[in-house]
Amino acid sequence: MATLTSAGEQPPAQPSLTFTRPVFAKLSPHPYLLHTLSPSDPSTTPSSRTNGRKPNEARKIQINTSSLSQAHGSALVRTGDTTVICGVRGEILPVAAIPQFRENKNRKYDDAGTLEEKGRKELKEYDLLVPNIELATGCAPQFLPGVPPTTLVQTVSTRVYSLLHSTGLVDVEGLRIWYTHTRGGDGDKMEGVEGEEAHEEEDEELEPEIKAYWVLYIDLLFVSFDGNPFDAAWAAVVAALKDTKLPAARWDPDREMVVCSGKEEQKKKLNVRGLPVASSAAVFLEKEHAEEREGDRHWILLDPDRQEEGLCNEVITMVVDCNGQDGELRIRSIEKQGGTVLGRELIRGFAGVAEERWKEVVAAMQ
């Protein structure tokens, strides 16, 4: 610069300071987001986020299933720059390996409701669903391998785990491997049919019993991470479970083990009940470091990305399902943490937003 001025050249009159949007957003994220959310003239420029989305606009979701051949079911979910792969693999857990196994004998006298309740208990007690999440794939600069699972990984895995059990997504009947005792060596099929029809007269021997369970290992791998891991992970889990086909398995009494049939046409689809979809939103406050006060403005940002997650403290996740009879909206879970903005009214309003999101995600799944 010194040489330039000594040579008598005119310095540029106006140092041009025009940065692109991403540069501004990176330099001072909070003021920039505030600026774009509250434009000076709302009639011409609508309120938008740094990433160009409207506050209640989620990223487009793309779902591909059955792309992995080693897993029994798989799904790839992509929302914006968050990409997650889910693989479901069934392994067999013999009843003998369960320490406190007791079979529910009076099963058939129960009505459907208690039967389902018991099924869920069975699923939980024997730990038949094993969801795990891997973020340490370099999917974002803060997630590098070689470190133990971070708190985020642990919480997301646990949330997926508890939601799997609380929604009762997987029907335990599809995971049981039955065996019907036969008295003689011959005609086992015949006797099996008889036992079905007239089990009242038959003695205990002919009753089918559970010999083993399928354990579903649900593994999630993040290829790319840009915020909102839970929604993407949950969508991937649901899509992968719907895609899962387990091979036909039977108990072989001679070898005392479970053998599966390798035939493609004998594979059975897993019975997945309902179609819950998670929607998350973060609350963005006007003041960056201050406590929320009466009268301060705030925005609810649906499907926050990585940068927005860093700016927001309060997060709400709602899991809804409209798959039941007459398409009624059912709320399966609400989780909210950090902050006091979201009251009863806002949460009720958010249910409508979650319903819209449900439609989008379900359309992507089909």
């Binding site: 992995l68 798989s74 990409t83 369960i98 790319s224």
Partner: protein, 287 residues
């Protein structure tokens, strides 16, 4: 002691499904044989920039062979850096490479655990050697770069049984894929290299019986051949005509010297094919 930071599942051990014998025989009673010419590699798909938040990233997929149940290789690679080394680390006049190769739990026939096992570490060190020869390391003193590869799907036949010990040969294919994909990701990250390094595998196979004459093929799929006698994975820089990493495995007599040279030559051939795809894909991103 179990890892309490993950969800471990039931206390009893679970068994991967065991299939009935007749079905297995029905599925793979004949070794189908190779559908390509001996010097033709499988088609591959390479794309850079799959992980926008990383400095560089790439995704590589090998075409799965015509037989169903054989999966193609699927790899995803991210590069983070160059960035300054932590204060605690000693001075380094050149860039410090750290490579991680990790199989996804659903990548192979056996479910993989989340902890890195020795074979994955082995792949990591081979990859590091291959890349070190290509990177101009002294342009970045006191800095480090992380290269992380996730094997989303390994090259394994789901139908065939495990008799052949396929894993050792599969590792070769995985390594060659890792080298190619890491090279693409390094270019995407803008790290200066002398050339694009790509991996290739050649193998000496026996197709019919014990006494038949072995032939050399490139890019072998273990399930397509009756027996693999030896294999060789090469990382090769085409414009410099340099080999940065050579990994040979197998059981060959020491006297057959030209067999070894032929294997290496064919490995280089496979590697140049991979390099063409790599360069074409990188040119595409520039256009």
């Amino acid at each position: 002691m179990t890892d309490r930071r993950r969800i471990n599942g039931p206390a009893g051990t679970t068994i991967p499904p065991v299939f009935e014998d007749e079905d297995i025989k029905h599925d793979s009673k004949v070794v189908k044989g190779r559908s390509r010419a001996p010097d033709a590699v499988r088609r591959m798909f390479l794309k850079t920039g799959v992980t926008p938040s990383a400095s560089g990233s790439a995704y590589l997929e090998y075409e799965s062979s015509a037989k169903s149940g054989v999966s193609g290789l699927k790899l995803s690679c991210t590069v983070h850096g160059p960035r300054s080394l932590p204060r605690s680390s000693p001075f380094s006049p050149h860039i410090v490479l750290s490579t991680h190769v990790k199989y996804a739990p659903f990548a192979t026939k056996q479910r993989r655990s989340y902890l890195r096992d020795p074979s994955e570490r082995d792949l990591g060190t081979h990859l590091e050697t291959a890349l070190r020869g290509a990177i101009i390391a002294d342009r970045w003193p006191k800095s480090g770069v992380d290269i992380i590869i996730s094997v989303i799907e390994g090259d394994q036949d789901r139908a065939s049984s495990n008799i052949q010990g396929d894993e050792t040969w599969d590792m070769m294919n995985v390594l060659s894929g890792c080298i190619t994909v890491a090279s693409a990701a390094l270019a995407d990250a803008g790290i200066d290299c002398v050339d694009t390094v790509a991996g290739g595998v050649a193998a000496l196979v026996q197709n019919a019986g014990e006494d038949s004459t072995p032939t050399i093929v490139v890019d072998p799929i273990p399930s397509e051949h009756e027996k693999i006698l030896g294999a060789c994975c090469i990382a090769y820089l085409p414009t410099r005509d340099e080999v940065t990493n050579l990994w040979f495995k197998g059981d060959l007599s020491a006297s057959a010297m030209d067999l070894y040279t032929k294997l290496v030559e064919n490995g280089i051939l496979a590697s140049t094919s991979a390099n063409r795809v790599l360069v074409a894909s990188l040119n595409e991103t520039l256009a």
